[in-house]
Symmetry: C2
Amino acid sequence: MIKKLNETENGDCSKEENGYPCLIPAQRILNLISKKWSIQLIHILHEGKVYRYKEIKERLQRGWKKEKISDATLSARLADLTKEKIIIRNVFPESPPKVEYSLTEKGESLSKAIKYLVDWTIGTCHQ
Amino acid sequence: MIKKLNETENGDCSKEENGYPCLIPAQRILNLISKKWSIQLIHILHEGKVYRYKEIKERLQRGWKKEKISDATLSARLADLTKEKIIIRNVFPESPPKVEYSLTEKGESLSKAIKYLVDWTIGTCHQ
């Protein structure tokens, strides 16, 4: 039996317990990243790019064109990533309201980690 | 309208067409990686590790203990990754037969790309 990690109320944990590394937030984020289109979505917004919903959808369709992304999925994914503070949703009080999405500082750092994976997958095409 | 990529019969494509990079195999692999537990599974086997089914399951449960992985899911994921030549399944003709899983050369190179992502997610715990 592995001893339960010393979790705090918000699900964080001490760095290590009994030599076993903390993986609880890692699990939460990996589950989010593992949801379809998350990787592509983060990749599209990297390096300070700012897009409106329609632009994001168009870019996803263009880059990964064998599969369509539904509005329900794209909205859910944007909401997930916003909740996890990876994406920020900027609403401008215009009429009609203008909404733009970009990566937070945390999201930019995640996008760098994801880039290796995206580059690897693109690279496999050309071996 | 974006012109269709110049695909060959097996779904490969020329490196670039009209300045647009080939992403078709990347999409197939990202879809696979995006399936639940793929990332953790590849990560567990990295650096030449060789495990039997039960050992893999135990390590997944131990590392990501808030969620259980079912046998159906784990078997499906191992089959997916074997088909994509990321994992190799070695069967030893013993009685009862012994089956071991490890990463292929392709899988090891993918595991290196994934390591940045795993390290990032573990790192977010301790900021």
